[in-house]
Structure formats: C-alpha cells, structure tokens
C-alpha cells in the first residue's frame, strides 16, 4: 500500500511518515518552549509542497491539539496562570482583529509583503538576540539560579516604575507578580497585531514578552502561553474554515498525532532543563529561522514568479 495520502483541501498527496515526523518535531518544541510552532511548521509544510494558505490554516488546527495536550500537561504540573492567560487572550483577540485590518490596508497599498518580511526579520532578530545574550550572561553569572520575581531588582528601573504606576494593580498568585491588568492587556494587543501581520499564533513573541515584560517565571510562562495559544488557534481554525476553506482536516490530523506525542516528550524535557537553558535553546531556534529568512531575502530567487498567498 502506498504511504502517500491525498489531502483533499490541499489538493495534493504527501508521504504520511514525513507529515508525522514534521508534526512530532514541532510538537516537541511546543512542549519544551510553550510556543505553538506555527512559525516553524508553516514554512516546513510549504517546503514539502502544501499550498501556503492551507499550510497556515491547517497548522492552526494541529496547534489546537498540541496546545490542548501541552496545556493539560502543564495544568497538571500547576504551571498555568489562568487569570493572566485570559487577559492576554482578550488583548490578543483585539490586537489580532486590528492586525487583520492593518494587513488588509497594506495589501491594498501593495506594501504588505515588505512589511511582513521586515517585521519577521526584525522581531526574530531582536527577540532571539536579546534572549540569547541575556541567557548566556545569566548562565555564566548564576549557573544554578534562574527564577525571577518582580521584587528582585535592587535598583528600580524606569520600566518598573512605569509598570507600578499603572492603575488597578492586581496580584497574579500563580505567577507571583503584582501588575495592572492593563499591562498584559496592552501587551496582548501588541502581540495580537504582530501575530496577524506575521500570520502565526504568536507564541514565540508571547513567551519573551511574558518573561521580560511581565516578569513571570519561565515554568509558568510556558503553560500560560500554551493556554493562550489554544484559544487563539481555535478562533483561527473556525474562521479559516468558514471564510477561506483552507483547513485540511486530514493534514491536521496527521500533524496533530505527531505533534501531541512530540509535545509530551517536550514537556518532560522542559522539566529537566533550567529556565536559562530553555531560553537559550529557544533563542537559538528563533535566530536560526531569522537567518534562514534573511538569506532568502538577500539571495536572488530561483524564479521571479511565486504563487499568491505565501510570504
């Protein structure tokens, strides 16, 4: 029997083992870092011949499964801050809607692709670079300690003063931080806008935002990020099914079988790794994707025509 499977909405055939392997790899990363993996899986699916619109939408569906599995695993470990997660979701939905309109306007002006590409390279470069350097310094200075709380800094920075001056200060017990809910709401909007522009779930932006701007401990960040991603991707899956008919259930099912298994292994590994080790690994992956994207932008393409829909 052929190992190839026909994907009715993608309109193409693909090797089952290849899909399963891709899903497993991305699910593993999702479990380790708390990122949805969309920024990795979508380009990988396009590389193996799936149309970009179907790749992105079906990817969202498989992320629903991977993040359900991951959220459930982290919930059992007590690593999900539901209060923070819900505020981030509200912000993310608002930002995502704003981002969709923004990208529509940019497309009409013919500048969307330029903005998308530059946003990708800059965001990945800044986030990856900062995380990498910070984690490296942290490992060198304090090889064992990696937990942080908002009460840690000896001198109060301008940023901390600004955060503390915001109204409606609220205690987030699970994260061990006291913040105004406006803070995660605004950051959620910001990440939502970026996620819509970049066409991804936004986990790889949300994780550094929670670590560096909301000052949440890394283990809670991973679980809460997965919880937020779960709801973002449920919304995307349903919207894409209704408006664009681009969710290929067969593709998503194989990917999600691979990814849910991979996610479980990832969660186990994440417990063995220290916070800084996790951060430096995620930073390396983010930088690798940024370099790959930069190379594709700098080198002349093989063909001067491309199918519409991809970045």
């Amino acid at each position: 029997m052929s190992l190839s499977l026909y994907l009715p909405l993608a309109g193409n055939s693909i090797n089952i083992l290849l899909l399963f392997g891709l899903g497993g790899l991305v699910g593993f990363l999702s479990g380790v870092f708390g990122v949805g993996g969309g920024f990795l899986l979508t380009p990988l699916l396009i590389m193996v011949g799936i149309p970009s619109t179907v790749a992105a939408a079906s990817d969202s569906n498989q992320i629903v499964a991977a993040s359900t599995s991951g959220t459930y695993a982290h919930y059992r470990l007590g690593n999900v801050d539901f209060k923070m997660g819900i505020i981030l979701i509200v912000g993310g939905v608002l930002g995502g809607t704003l981002g969709v309109y923004l990208i529509k306007a940019l497309r009409a002006m013919g500048d969307a692709d330029f903005v998308i590409k530059i946003t990708y390279v800059v965001m990945l470069g800044v986030i990856g670079g900062y995380m990498f350097v910070e984690s490296l310094q942290s490992i060198r200075q304090k090889p064992v300690e990696s937990k942080r709380t908002v009460t840690e800094p000896a001198k109060v920075s301008l940023y901390t003063r600004l955060v503390q001056s915001l109204p409606y200060q609220m205690k987030f017990e699970k994260s061990g931080v006291t913040l105004s809910p406006l803070m995660p709401l605004i950051l959620g909007v910001f990440v939502g806008i970026l996620a819509a522009i970049m066409g991804v779930g936004g986990g790889f932006i949300m994780v550094p935002v929670m670590v560096y701007m909301l000052r949440m401990p890394m283990h809670v960040v991973v679980g809460t990020s997965l919880f937020q991603i779960l709801f973002t991707c449920i919304n995307v899956t349903i919207m894409q099914s209704i408006t664009n008919f681009t969710v290929d259930l067969v593709l998503a099912l194989i990917l999600l079988l691979g990814s849910t298994i991979g996610a479980q292994f990832g969660v186990r590994l994440s417990k063995r790794l220290k916070g800084d080790q996790l951060k430096i690994l995620l930073a390396s992956i983010v930088l690798l994707v940024m370099v790959q994207m930069l190379v594709s932008l700098v080198l002349p393409p093989h063909l001067m025509l491309a199918h519409k829909g991809g970045h």
Partner: protein, 259 residues
C-alpha cells in the same frame, strides 16, 4: 408490404453493424483515432498521481502530437523584485488564458522543441493565448511567460515530452502512436481534453479529441463536500477532533507515568 417493412430495418442494422466493425481500423481518408486509458481517473484517499495512456492511430509517414489540457482559468501570481536590497514579492500579476494543466508529447523531438510557425500545440501556441494583467510592462511579457512555464513545470502541472510518443507500424496505411502521461498529484477534479494532432510536412492534416475525467471519490470527496458546503460545521468539528485528540494523548501519556 409486410416483407418490405421487415427487410428495411434489417438492412439498416446490417449497414450500421458493418460500419461499427469497420470503425477501429484506420481508413486513409477518415479521422484519426484516439483512446485514453483510463478515461476516468479517481482521486481516492491514497491517490498519488496517475499515469494516463493515450493510444492513437495516424497515417503511415505522418507525425503526431498528443496534448492533455486542463480548463482555462485566471491565476493570481506574485512577481518578485528587490526593495532596499532585499528580494520579495513586489506586485500581483494576473495570468489569463492559461490551462490548469498542460502535458504534451510528440513522435519526434523537433515537433515540440522547435515547432513550425503557426503550430497550434506546445508552449509557442500557449504563449499566443496567455494574457498578463497587473504589474507587468509590455517589454517584460516574454520574460514572464518563460518564468510562468518554469513555475508550472516546477509544480509538475506543465510538461513537454519531445519524442516521447512511441510509434509502431500498423497494418496497411496506418500506424499506432502511444504515449504515457504522468497526471500530477495536484490534478483537480474536472474534465480534461486529450487532443491528437496529426502532422505531415509541417501541416496539420487531422485532429481528434477525447475527454479525460478526473473525479474525487470516497473519504476525500466526503471531506471536501463538508468543508465547502458546511464551513462552520467543518471548522467546529476540526476543533473538537483536535481537542479530543489532545486530551486523549495527554491522558495516555499520564498513564505512561511521568508527571
């Protein structure tokens, strides 16, 4: 009177029968013949492309071109360009008049590689019918036509197979040409035209067409019908399946120990 009434239909029947029996053999001045096998390709759960065989009968000494052509549709592509030193999509290009699939094979290589002027087959003929709209200058037409064919060939939906038709000398004044065409995995359901063009001395002396049907069957057909017909139900179903699978896998791994 009664006898005459019975004899006429018998005579007509005999005449029709003799015509039917005579039809498969090439008659020098009759039309060329074409057979497509299979004439219906089914896209099922394990579809991975399909080889389509086309057999034709042409006069002795003649050459032939066989084409499989999909429906003509408007396609939206992006042209790449350099901005701020970076390569990216810089504008949309609308391609009109190009078939969704184009596979062509010939008995001799020059028929497709270097077709005679005014040939109605091959890329030169397609170039005549394809129109560009959008961000393309008049001087760029030829360049983007070549880019378009390269893109389609990389997608495996366009292929030119010069000299790939096998010729076997038949009996009498006819010969048989046979071609194998790889129908790509990206083929869409629909009716495709299979055309046999008979060429002699650089001139088209006869043409014959046949249909090739591609249909989606079984599970893929059911899923596609649900997705396109009931988008909301399909989306909610996809989410429920994903959540249940996620929980099930989480539960299974919990059973395996670990946390």
């Amino acid at each position: 009177m009664k006898v005459v009434v019975c004899a006429r239909p018998r005579l007509i029947l005999l005449l029709m029968l003799s015509l039917l029996l005579a039809a498969p053999a090439w008659a020098g001045d009759g039309p060329p013949e074409i057979q497509v096998w299979p004439d219906v390709v089914e896209i099922g759960a394990f579809f991975n492309g399909h080889e389509v065989k086309v057999i034709g009968k042409i006069p002795q000494g003649a050459q032939a071109v066989i084409e499989i052509t999909g429906q003509v549709a408007t396609e939206h592509l992006m042209r790449k360009g350099r901005r701020g030193g970076l390569w990216m999509n810089v504008g949309e290009l609308e391609v009109q008049g190009a078939p969704s699939i184009y596979l062509a094979a010939s008995t001799t290589p020059p028929l497709l590689k270097d077709p005679p002027a005014g040939a109605v087959w091959g890329y030169p003929a397609l170039k005549q019918q394809i129109r560009f709209a959008g961000r393309v200058e008049q001087g760029e037409r030829e360049y983007f036509l070549d880019q378009f064919f390269q893109l389609k060939e990389s997608d495996e939906v366009y292929a030119i197979l010069p000299g790939d038709l096998k010729v076997k000398g038949g009996s009498g004044d006819s010969q048989t040409v046979t071609g194998a065409f790889p129908l790509p995995t990206a083929v869409k359901p629909g009716t495709y035209r299979v055309c046999l063009t008979v060429v002699q001395g650089g001139q088209v002396i006869a043409k014959q067409n046949s249909d090739l049907k591609v249909v989606m069957v079984g599970f893929p057909a059911m899923l596609a019908s649900l997705a396109y017909g009931h988008g909301a139900t399909y989306g909610i179903l996809a989410v429920i399946i994903a959540i249940v699978t996620g929980f099930a896998m989480g539960y299974l791994f919990k059973g395996g120990g670990g946390h």
